[in-house]
């Protein structure tokens, strides 16, 4: 595997009174596609800039392949950045933009030609070598920025929200392309984004950040299916969140008194004690919506009224007001019509059911 390990140990950084990073530690593995995901202002870009060498951490150590890089200027670090604004040099052609790092290194001219062509081919821009950046579309500029960042053959590529300036369709396309570039070059990618879809679809692992802290590190599945905190559950995808006191527990099966719901069966390995106040979540697609009352073992069932049906082609999102008061979101896939899906409409009375094991305890001893 090419690429480098990146270790972030107890890094803190403040700007005036604002602390952007609070004692952040991360282990990023060789060749990994690693995402830093969080809302704006969560410190993800500051962390990326610290790895690149643009910010000096107030404390803590950043190591690349086990070597402490603190104090090394950006030009001495073996990582390159794809900037959010592309930062292409407007006075240079596409060719010269990509050749820039080689010219700085005084690479022989002939080799420059070969390498630049190779990297332009990687991003499918061979035909545009002579153009100036202002003659390119957003997606093309992005590709130039990627080719330019890769030409020095860095061991780590840092991507700072590289797709945020592109429209939705193009973003999807570029994302897949980034993924295939990652497969081809095999180096470590550290990808900063606030878009959970982007992070989920391409990352090997994701670090979810908020307010300068890393809340959870894990594979996309782990993050989505087993969020570590309420924030992670709410930030990634949609989540129904219930809070209540544990009434009884046998094995991993708990009975809780969920606010706005009533007694709820929760099957989760997290050890809790009777009397603890816990927060649990369930993903909307794991809840079944039906006309008639379903029954089953370890099944939570509640009756409610559809407040908002939102049709979006491949699925319908329902917001249901349970008779007990909670507002619950349900996604229902339109897999096939032969199932004879009843037409559930606004103000219909419905039953919602979900299995105890699909609930996840995200916080215990909540206030």
């Amino acid at each position: 595997m090419k690429g480098s390990d990146v270790t972030v140990s107890n890094v803190s950084k403040s700007f005036g009174t604002f602390s952007a990073l609070k004692d952040v530690s991360l282990d990023i593995h060789k060749g990994e596609f690693f995402s830093l995901l969080g809302p704006s202002g969560c410190g993800k870009t500051t962390l990326l800039r610290a790895i690149a060498g643009f910010e000096d951490p107030d404390s803590g150590v950043i190591g690349i392949d086990g070597t402490d890089v603190s104090g090394l200027p950006p030009d001495k670090r073996h990582c390159n950045t794809v900037f959010q604004s592309y930062a292409l040099f407007p006075h240079l052609s596409v060719f010269e933009n990509v050749a820039f790092p080689l010219r700085i290194k005084k690479t022989p001219k002939k080799l420059i030609g070969e390498l630049v062509l190779k990297h332009l081919a990687l991003v499918q821009l061979e035909a545009h070598a002579n153009k100036k950046p202002n003659q390119l579309s957003g997606g093309q500029k992005q590709r130039v920025a990627i080719a330019r960042a890769l030409i020095n053959e860095p061991s780590v590529l840092l991507l700072d929200e590289p797709l945020s300036a592109l429209d939705a369709k193009l973003r999807q396309h570029m994302l897949m392309e980034l993924d295939s570039i990652h497969d081809k070059v095999g180096i470590t990618f550290i990808y900063v984004t606030h878009d959970q879809q982007e992070a989920l679809s391409v990352s090997d692992r994701i670090a979810v950040m908020n307010a300068g802290q890393v809340l959870q590190v894990g594979s996309p599945q782990q993050i989505y299916e087993n969020p570590a905190t309420e924030f992670v559950a709410r930030f990634i995808g949609e989540a129904n969140v219930f809070k209540g006191e544990v009434l009884s527990r046998s094995g991993t099966l708990n009975v809780m008194n969920a606010e706005g719901f009533g007694e709820m069966l929760v099957d989760d390995e997290t050890p809790v004690d009777v009397g603890d106040t816990i927060i649990v979540t369930i993903r909307p697609e794991k809840i079944r919506i039906s006309d008639d009352k379903p029954s089953g073992r370890e099944l939570n069932v509640v009756r409610g009224v559809v407040e908002e049906p939102i049709y979006s082609g491949f699925q319908t999102k329902y917001v249901v007001r349970a008779d007990s008061g909670a507002r619950i979101t349900i996604f229902r896939q339109h897999a096939n019509w032969s199932e004879g899906i009843p037409d559930i409409a606004w103000k219909d009375e419905v039953f919602l059911s979900f299995a105890a094991r699909d609930l996840v305890i995200v916080e215990k001893n909540a206030r």
Binding site: P74, S85, I104
Partner: protein, 305 residues
């Protein structure tokens, strides 16, 4: 029908320029081809004597000196103005700093020259201070030489260079400097290879705004310079007021104007050499791709002639 008032708007300016710019210029041209009057003025008689008189070794010496003093002062001014403009553009309180650059304009030009005499003169502040800390009591001769003239010229024209440089640097995307650093450039390389080519327009303007007035300088060499610091402006003034050879003064003026105009024209119109790569790039890279892109370093604006 749409009425076009363009002419109406342009007429006052056109009149102004005709009366106060074109007409005097024409008069000077005409004077240079007339015969010299005995006590100044001209005789209405065609003569090329003025242009013959110009071929004079003393005048040539002054012309060469004027050129090098102007070039030296311009280069020093730009070199000081670049970091100034940069720091103003990057500072949080631009308004205050710009204000400080403009403040000297509130004081009369001549007063500011005399201020320098008060600073650098034999009994000036600097000499008094040096005497206090034990340097030779007779003081140093700072004034009345070429160096002093260049120093004061730089001081006088610095704001004219800082302002255009500031306004282009202010529009410069500083992310590009970070990108350059990220791609392996040192701090200096990122300024020279990324910032400088992108603020070329401002540099050209700053050079024009300083070189042209310095080339025609009169008061500074007269008051600050010694007898070896005479510049063309002083020669012209002497021809009008002392030697009373108006045709010669006109001829020198015309030549200077013409030379300045031509060199400015060449300098300002000089297009940056277009980077070009051979058009037919073979995407699959046949054995030897003919990709001899010229070195990207021809980017520093060449000086005027």
């Amino acid at each position: 029908m749409k009425r076009n008032y363009g002419m109406a708007y342009a007429t006052p300016q056109a009149l102004w320029l005709t009366v106060f710019f074109a007409a005097p210029l024409l008069i000077i041209i005409a004077y240079s081809f007339l015969r010299k009057g005995l006590y100044g003025g001209v005789e209405p008689q065609l003569s090329f004597q003025a242009y013959v008189d110009m071929a004079n070794p003393t005048l040539l010496t002054v012309a060469v000196r004027t050129l090098w003093v102007s070039l030296a002062a311009t280069i020093i001014t730009i070199l000081i103005a670049l970091p100034c403009g940069y720091s103003i553009a990057r500072s949080k309180n631009q308004a205050i700093r710009l204000f400080l650059v403009i403040v000297p304009f509130w004081t009369n030009f001549l007063v500011r020259i005399y201020a320098w005499i008060a600073i650098l003169g034999n009994e000036g502040f600097v000499n008094q201070a040096l005497r206090l800390i034990g340097f030779r009591p007779e003081g140093f001769q700072f004034l009345y030489n070429q160096g002093a003239v260049i120093l004061v010229l730089v001081y006088m024209y610095l704001p004219y260079a800082i302002l255009p440089l500031f306004s282009t640097i202010d529009k410069f995307d500083f992310n590009l400097l970070e990108a350059a650093r990220d791609l392996g450039a040192t701090k200096m390389q990122s300024y020279l290879r990324v910032m400088l080519p992108n603020i070329k327009g401002g540099v050209v303007t700053a050079v024009l705004f300083t070189f042209i007035p310095i080339f025609g300088a009169y008061a500074v060499p007269l008051l600050i310079g010694g007898k070896d610091s005479y510049m063309l402006g002083n020669v012209i003034a002497d021809q009008v007021t002392k030697t009373r050879n108006w045709p010669l003064a006109s001829a020198i003026s015309m030549t200077v104007t013409l030379l300045t105009a031509v060199s400015v024209f060449l300098f300002a119109l000089k297009k940056p050499k277009e980077q070009h790569i051979e058009k037919d790039i073979d995407p699959l890279g046949s054995s030897s791709p003919k990709l001899d892109a010229p070195q990207g370093s021809g980017s520093v604006p060449a000086g005027g002639h």
